[in-house]
Point group: C2
Chain length 374, copies 2
């Protein structure tokens, strides 16, 4: 089937680009002797996880237990949740431990004790990593605060927990203003983690894993001393934000939204059938200010934006596109392809994506782990 | 079951409030002698549509054919799509016409001709309304442009189409700066529609329906001359935006997100397990500037915001809440309830919501039409 025959809007995933993106990231990790553990929140597909594992990934990351349950059911043997699970979920964790190697993060003494008690009660041991805040200021202990190394040692000493190392997420890399700034963030992250690992070692905690994860800083983290594992997710598809951050080129963006012109009410206005229920209201990030809710490509077979078109407003089921310059021949019924601002959130909105090779639709890929929020 | 036993995050729908919201809007429409045709995009649930129809609604609105297919399967006999369907969908429309009374909008001569040809070819007739742009500048013909009435007459003359009237959506009511401005928008909308209906009547098109739809202007549209039908959707749940626009009070907001504290890394920072995959990055609208991605209520049984808490940033699976003043006793494991900025988009993210009455979970309601984007 040709992609022009698909119902719109829908999500297209370019199969050769996905293969290439997976291979390149794995090759980079291999060349630097680091383990790659892709975050599957970007694709939410066991089929694509198997491709990543087949190329050499050491395991996967999931965002929530609900995602981990899907991937464990699909036979993935090593799943890490870089998420501060609360012990109220002990029943689900215990079930998962029966069928996969699960690890997760802790960043709070009460929570660590809660897990220790739950695991001890069940006669089990679970792998944990200490989450370290390296500047994103979301979760994690402050590595510069008094008692940081002691917290690590305290977790290591708790029965029922097996401390595997330190883990961080440099989410502030998405707000970097330049390549140099992104590189500086990756360097500072590694320094903070190495220093804390040294301090913990000095009070008896053996150095083990140091895991970092974020696509914008991944290429710089590879070169940092001490890092054992990388957990990027977005690199499998990339998106407009990653192009804006210099992490990808347009012709590496593997996920696009196929949309149709449904109204053409003015010469400077085109209405598409892809609204926030497809593209989301997530804004683009990157080194330069980028208005618009994704970019319309300059034709169905072109990997560059049509600079005359700005997606200036989304309703749930409409995109208002403004023709900012020149003329625009688009008329009702015409198709366009859009690179979204953020591909991970687009995956979460659809039950399936279409795998394409050029114009040929090669497969329908079910997004099995869509909407697993708990 | 008590709501504190639910897995988090999840979506709660207060059943008594839903019943009351439905009854009040129906009573207001009845009192003014207008037909009420609720937009079901807000709840996407055939079960709730049946409650609306049982109270006196004349039919429902859906956003896309995929939603209409779900509600037609559920036995809803009258479905209107205030959406500019393209004739590429003729096969689906013809199938729907076999099992429900379907109508939709047209705003472009090529599209109207395309539908006329498709319906004539199939030996069928479909009901259409002309979409009129009353200031939102999304779809619709410009009613003040030369040829507007002639466009209406042209549609009325096309074989295969049965013109039922005019339809508009005052989406710019969401950007009103005051009650007075919202009322002025409803008045101007009615004036534009009545004038166009008069002009069309003068060239031989009988006056029939004049349909308007938007929750923020609904209470003012009720009082305008000539309006035959109202199509609000959000009123069944309301949300923070509607409170901001004066359309609802906090204790009318029926949809909340139940979330759990998962990290407490600093005295001024609380991390919840409800991210953009639950709350979305939609911003609040209303008469005053309202930062934050929803509001945390001041306890599980309180219908007023905790003004010391600001949801200042969302990741996909985390909410960063800043403690802006006072102290905050929230600790990992604690539960909070959040009124989202926009309830319609929250419904679209979950497979099911929990119907609650106070703390009691009374039912699990499947969101059957979630994600029907085509």
């Amino acid at each position: 089937m040709d992609l022009t025959e698909l119902r719109t809007p829908c999500v297209l995933v370019d199969h050769p680009r996905v293969e290439r993106n997976i291979e390149r990231m794995q090759a980079a990790a291999d060349a630097h002797g680091r383990r790659l553990r892709p975050h599957v929140k970007t694709h939410k597909s066991p089929e694509l996880a198997r491709v990543q594992l087949g190329r050499g990934a050491t395991g996967i990351c999931c965002a929530k237990l609900g995602e981990a349950e899907v991937f464990a059911d699909a036979g993935v043997a090593d799943i890490r949740l870089p998420y501060p699970l609360h012990p109220v979920n002990a029943d689900r964790v215990l079930k998962l431990l029966d069928r996969t190697h699960l690890s997760f993060i802790v960043d709070h003494p009460d929570v660590a004790r809660g897990w220790s008690e739950a695991m001890t009660r069940a006669g089990r041991v679970v792998d944990v990593l200490v989450k370290v805040d390296v500047g994103f200021h979301r979760c994690g202990i402050d590595p510069r605060a008094a008692g940081a190394a002691e917290f690590v040692a305290g977790v290591a000493a708790l029965p029922g927990l097996r401390l595997r190392g330190l883990l961080s997420h440099a989410g502030h890399g998405y707000a970097a203003g330049s390549e140099a700034e992104a590189e500086a963030i990756a360097r500072a992250e590694a320094e903070l983690l190495n220093t804390l690992a040294d301090q913990a070692e000095a009070i008896g905690v053996p150095r083990e894993e140091i895991s970092v994860g974020a696509t914008p800083t991944a290429r710089f983290s590879l070169q940092q001393r001490g890092i054992t594992e990388l957990r990027p997710g977005n690199y499998i598809y990339f998106d407009r934000t990653q192009v804006g951050l210099g992490s990808a080129a347009w012709d590496e963006c593997a996920l696009t939204v196929l949309a149709r012109v449904v109204s053409r009410p003015a010469v400077d206005r085109v209405i598409l059938d892809s609204g926030s229920k497809t593209l989301t209201n997530d804004l683009a990030r990157g080194f330069v200010n980028q208005p618009g809710y994704g970019v319309v490509l300059d034709g169905l077979d072109v990997s560059a934006p049509d600079d005359n078109l700005l997606i200036e407003r989304l309703s749930e089921e409409h995109a208002n596109v403004r023709v900012t310059g020149g003329t625009c021949a688009l008329k009702p019924g015409d198709l366009v392809r859009i690179v979204p601002n953020h591909s991970c959130v687009v995956s979460n909105l659809v039950d399936a994506v279409w795998l394409v090779n050029g114009h040929e639709v090669v497969d329908c890929l079910e997004i099995v782990a869509r909407g697993r929020i708990t």
